[in-house]
Symmetry: C2
Subunit: 238 residues, 2 copies
Amino acid sequence: MNLGWREPYPLKDLLEVETSLPAVIDNDANCAALGEMWKGAGNGAKDLVCVTLGTGVGGGVITNGDIVHGVSGAAGEIGHITSMAEGGAPCNCGKTGCLETIASATGIVRIATEALNEGTPAGELAAVYKETGYVTAKDVFDSGKRNDQLALKVIDSVALHLGIALANIANTLNPEKIVLGGGVSKAGNVLLDPIKAQFLRNSFPRVAQSTEISIATLGNDAGVIGAAWLVKNKIAQA
Amino acid sequence: MNLGWREPYPLKDLLEVETSLPAVIDNDANCAALGEMWKGAGNGAKDLVCVTLGTGVGGGVITNGDIVHGVSGAAGEIGHITSMAEGGAPCNCGKTGCLETIASATGIVRIATEALNEGTPAGELAAVYKETGYVTAKDVFDSGKRNDQLALKVIDSVALHLGIALANIANTLNPEKIVLGGGVSKAGNVLLDPIKAQFLRNSFPRVAQSTEISIATLGNDAGVIGAAWLVKNKIAQA
């Protein structure tokens, strides 16, 4: 979430001064990953990557039981993995071809709308588009579940790039779990099955055997639960 | 290195029994990464990724000052990142389109040989190929340094895929350094400059500003120096 603070904003120090209590801070994606590690789909896994598929694509990376921040706090920018070497759509970050332009709700709508504007599309999704002038990511998944061919083509394209990105993260980190959260992850097996197929096809064999893709279980509570983990583990240590 | 041991081989236990001394073990790529972190190009960086470009492509990943092994020890399989979603060359691992099929010495020779067998190639590299019937990765870089167009096209293709893979690792981990080692890394600026250009183009802006690509400085000593780090840090802790 962008709150408009200018960096470096001394939030931790201000909180400690105002409350006279020790404080620990982290961003929403990292807290969600910690929450899922501790009490959610991670089930205590010490190596875990959490990917949130919402209006954007966010991520949190945990290795050896702790969050990875990187040298300037930009670790976990999984939405900005380059999925299309050439000809990708422009991203808000200034690059083109980012995973976020494909696997976010916004990206899915963009790909579907492009497909619906090619030639003379037929089927259920095309009928929705003709009637209302737009489609949502949920429309794409709902039509896909009823075997609409255009919707399934869109889902295959999303699953190809998301499956490769997750496989490449796993080829690098071999986490116990990759946890998918956010609104798009609620699509269910119509999306999860092709993602898993691409993940297996693109993972190093030992990674394919050991890294598991799971759906997040804590929903919007993941962040506060992860923040509680931080208090329990980081302040007690200090 | 594949020594033909069947897993799980109790090397650590056998060493401890035979020597009556505490032992610690890890693989060559991870030891090289630790060596470069401690005494080499990493210069103490706590978040570092080491990529060895040799006959294959290997990797070691360090976050928060420690090696990432992953759930089954397959972290760092950077050579098996999928660089070509479709139409890639077959890899020894059983997949297709792995980074290793492009950015290893073997991969560079393959791409060059394919280019030399297309149409009627001209220039220095083509002359070497016509005379000897083959080219080496060093031939490609040497010709590229003298502005041979076919060689530069091969180098651009290698740099595109390697630059994207390194950027995607950096978008996930934001390490302080990505250290390139192995024989191919000795090519110098004719390879490093286009890799850096693709890396910057494909990195999230804050990652591009903070993650640096460097050439390894310890050569073949990186592994033993990293092993010394393990003894110093892991056995003392135990």
